[in-house]
């Protein structure tokens, strides 16, 4: 396996030598996400050859795997020991890799109750833009030696380094899950989701769409039953399939071909009046907006900002140059400085996140 790393390092050094951009690529399942890489003669750096679990001890609640590992394979291995990646990362295709999951930093339905990818990342091994092999963090839950580079790498879209291995905290599968459906209007749903999140209830996921609030309860059987009695609502028979469709965006709401906006805002923000349809997750903190092109970028960004958040053009018909919410100039400065230090020649996924990064 070391020879593969040496190969990667050589590719990076060669690219740095002639300032030729590299496109880091896993399974390609999240190719649509983010901006197009900028530059001429872009070479692809395929990480899928660097795969496999390096270390997994269920009683340590930690797994370390190479980033070319298919997410499905990793989850299957955890499942054998009744454990899971609790942040429920979306795959968006069977080829999805661990590297793509961590680099995009996307989390699924359980995010509001347990945390995001970044909350579970414990350590990384990576190559920076000079091809140097570096390790940060580790395989332990608590570690404050040095700055938290592992979490900085999470969600950085491959612009700061090539992830080689990632150590993640894993959690036991809940003994029981139950999905409930309640009929109500949007404003009431937002109110209820926030109210219930403030109570000691085992709610592990929420989704509002088409005047129906769907909830998932996870935990000990007695606790789940007691919560059902408190909350009311109809039990949904195919609960797992429903959450899978939300996580993978195969739910009917996510019609392909239209622009899909992701608005990450304060959970208590009242219903947003924007052209198009919306689906709400994460207890009100995540609003998906499907619309035809007529809803202006500026309008969506302002709406998100007003609600103390930000908006991402998650999927769009044509490839965009500005998927992510613009940063304040002083924040952009810090981003540029970091990029320059990690990748001095600017060859790793340039422009994928922001112009100049």
């Amino acid at each position: 396996m070391q020879n593969i790393i040496d190969q990667f390092a050589n590719i990076i050094r060669a690219a740095a030598g002639c300032k030729a951009p590299l496109r880091i690529c896993g399974g390609g399942s999240k190719e649509f996400y983010g901006n197009r890489i900028v530059g001429q003669n872009i070479d692809m750096l395929d990480i899928t050859t660097y795969s496999g679990i390096v270390d997994y001890e269920p009683t340590e609640l930690v797994v370390t795997a190479r980033t070319g590992t298919r997410l499905a394979d990793l989850e299957a291995e955890l499942y054998k020991h009744r454990q899971m990646l609790a942040f429920e990362p979306p795959h968006f295709g069977s080829a999805a890799t661990l590297g793509g999951c961590v680099a995009t930093g996307l989390s699924g339905p359980r995010r509001a109750s347990v945390g995001a990818v970044r909350d579970f990342v414990l350590g990384v091994r990576m190559l920076d833009g000079r091809g140097d092999d570096l390790r940060f963090g580790g395989q332990v839950m608590k570690n404050v030696a040095g700055y938290d580079i592992s979490r900085l790498m999470t969600g950085s879209m491959g612009t700061l380094g090539l992830l080689l291995e990632v150590s993640l905290k894993v959690l036991p599968l809940p003994p029981m899950e139950m999905t409930l459906s309640l009929q109500m209007k949007e404003a009431e749903a937002i109110e209820k989701m926030n109210l219930w999140a403030g109570k000691p209830l085992p709610i592990s996921a929420t989704c509002f769409c088409n005047d129906a609030l769907t909830l998932r309860l996870s935990g000990a059987e007695a606790a789940v039953r007691a919560a059902h009695a408190k909350l009311g609502g109809e039990e949904v028979a195919e609960g797992a399939a429903f959450w899978q469709s939300v996580r993978e965006q195969t739910h009917i709401f996510f019609q392909p071909g239209k622009s899909l906006w992701r608005l990450s805002i304060k959970s208590t923000a009242p219903p947003l009046s924007l052209l198009g349809q919306q689906l709400i997750e994460w207890g009100g903190a995540l609003r998906w907006l499907i619309s035809d092109a007529e809803v202006g970028t500026e309008t969506v960004r302002v709406a998100a900002k007003t609600a103390s958040g930000h908006a991402t053009l998650f999927r769009s018909g044509e490839s965009s140059a500005a998927a992510f919410h613009p940063l304040a100039p002083e924040m952009m400065n810090i981003h540029r400085c970091l990029k320059e230090k990690f990748d001095p020649m600017g060859i790793l996924n340039p422009g994928r996140m922001y112009p100049g990064l």
């Binding site: 269920p58 009683t59 340590e60 609640l61 009744r82 930093g105 945390g115 909350d119 092999d133 570096l134 390790r135 940060f136 580790g138 332990v140 839950m141 608590k142 570690n143 404050v144 030696a145 040095g146 700055y147 938290d148 580079i149 979490r151 900085l152 999470t154 969600g155 950085s156 700061l160 036991p172 926030n194 999140a197 403030g198 109570k199 000691p200 935990g219 000990a220 059987e221 007695a222 606790a223 039953r225 990450s264 805002i265 304060k266 959970s267 208590t268 903190a285 609600a307 103390s308 958040g309 930000h310 992510f324 940063l327 304040a328 002083e330 924040m331 810090i334 400085c337 970091l338 230090k341």
Partner: protein
């Protein structure tokens, strides 16, 4: 800039009592919780608003004066140790809770607010701030952010980094940044994570939005005694292997148990080699279910005695000993030195055995109280600073423990930070390439290196002089030699 000129410039906008420079006024600031290191600063500044923080930093930036931030000064690694030619910036007067939003379950607070004060303000809404360092009555939330502090309940509820949403930060150049957001994520790089645990090296935190957690309906604790520390270690693994994440899982060894029993009289088993405290919280149904399972696992793991708290008073009593471990150490020994390494749990017995050997070798007693659930050790080395050479011996013992933690695949600090204390051991844990990245991060925020100089990340030169060999986690330097 001449000290008096700096004082004049600061007093132009700060009241006289907020700019200290007479030596008797400086004295209280000469050390933090790591009192073996002392240094009086040139000046102490006590701003009351973010605007004042900005103005102080701009003046220091222009005059190239080093600045060291200080919260409550409870840090255990010398992070807030002053710089002799610098300004000690105390955030203690920024102590207002600006807003509690019970519906969104957040609180907007200033950095000088005490950790426990947040939970007290949230209590009327059935909410609390989850990370609970043992120092929570005193330590500040700004210090918690700077150290990524944890506590007994972090196994289930996470560390500081998992429980904050947004920071306002002022850079050394006096520029304010908004990092993170009131929503669950923010665009761009995760600078919120980068700031958390950065030990006052990157910027001054002036405002924090913390997440609040619903108070559990019920909590109950199982106290299990074992005649062998390995059995206790296995019990920890067995609980987690059974799919239980306890709200807290703490261990005390025999010396610790005896010391705290003398102090709090809880009725701990004094013959036990190790005591485990394992807490379940949640709804009444959940707790009943979990306690039943924990009890069974403890029995199967060979516990010689098991007691379950019958009510809230008893639960608090069981915990009282664990929480009083530090003062108890102070009673059985003139001085103690608290270490803070983390290891993979599976190596618990091996490392504890190693510590015991070292303890005999150095002729110094060592008591172990620690966060067993996440492998975070807190060996307390008992010594007497009045005996010549004993502090040096203690420090050497401590260094050996930390190196053992690295070799066991762990880290030199789980929650107390590197500060000045563990600066040399950073050379053992990280390669020069990795240290270069840390310096690069520092330079992105503070290119002149004026914030908390000399802390947290050693210069490459220092590592060369220290002569420490970099040990890769899990790989031993001389694998052919017998260990411990």
């Amino acid at each position: 800039m001449h000290p008096l000129e700096l004082v004049t410039n600061l007093r132009a906008f700060l009241p006289a009592e907020a700019v200290l420079y007479e030596s008797e006024d400086l004295k209280p600031y000469e050390c933090d919780g790591l009192s073996a290191y002392r240094q009086t600063p040139m000046i102490v500044a006590l701003p009351q608003t973010e605007d004042e923080v900005i103005r102080i930093l701009r003046i220091c930036h222009t005059s190239k004066t080093p600045v060291v931030a200080r919260g409550a000064g409870t840090g255990l690694s010398g992070g807030a140790l002053p710089h002799p030619a610098g300004v000690l910036l105390s955030l203690a007067k920024l102590k207002r809770i600006l807003e509690v939003d019970p519906v969104a379950r957040t609180a907007l607070v200033q950095p000088g607010v005490r950790n426990l004060a947040i939970s007290e303000a949230a209590a009327p809404y059935g909410l609390y701030y989850a990370p609970d360092p043992s120092s929570q009555i005193a330590c500040s939330i700004g210090g918690n952010v700077a150290e990524n502090s944890g506590g007994v309940h972090c196994l289930k509820y996470g560390l500081t980094v998992h429980n904050i949403l947004k920071l306002r930060v002022v850079t050394m150049a006096g520029e304010s940044l908004e990092i993170g957001s009131a929503s669950l994520d923010a665009p761009g790089y995760d600078l919120l994570a980068l700031m958390t645990g950065s030990e006052g090296m990157l910027g001054i935190v002036t405002e924090i939005i913390v997440k609040l957690t619903p108070s559990p309906e019920k909590a109950q604790v199982v106290m299990a005694a074992f005649d062998d520390i390995r059995k206790a270690g296995n019990a920890v693994a067995n609980v987690i292997g059974a799919g239980i994440i306890p709200a807290g899982m703490e261990m005390m060894d025999k010396i610790a148990t005896r010391a705290v029993e003398e102090y709090v009289h809880v009725g701990y088993n004094l013959e036990a080699a190790a005591i485990l405290l394992c807490e379940a919280d949640g709804t009444a149904e959940e707790v009943a279910d979990e306690i039943r399972r924990i009890d069974k696992i403890m029995r199967e793991s060979g516990a010689i005695e098991i007691r379950t708290s019958r009510d809230e008073t008893e639960r608090l009593r069981f915990w009282a000993g664990r929480k009083a471990a530090f003062p108890a150490a102070g009673r059985v020994s003139p001085d103690y030195y608290c270490m803070d390494g983390t290891i993979p749990r599976k190596n618990l017995a091996r490392v504890l055995g190693g510590i015991e050997k070292l303890s005999t070798e150095y002729g110094l007693r060592c008591m172990n109280v620690f966060h067993a659930g996440d492998g975070n050790l807190h060996p307390l080395i008992l010594y007497d600073a009045n005996l010549p050479g004993e502090l040096e011996k203690t420090e050497e013992f401590g260094v050996k423990i930390l190196e053992m933690c690295i070799e066991a695949g762990g880290t030199i600090t789980g929650e107390h930070g590197v500060g000045i204390e563990k600066i040399n051991q950073m050379c053992s844990q990280f390669s020069s390439g990795e240290l270069k990245i840390f310096h690069a991060v520092k330079a992105a925020f503070d290119p002149e290196g004026l914030l908390n100089p000399g802390k947290a990340v050693p210069t490459l030169r220092r590592c060369a002089e220290h002569g420490a060999m970099h040990v890769h986690s899990g790989e031993e330097k001389f694998p052919e030699l017998p260990r411990f």
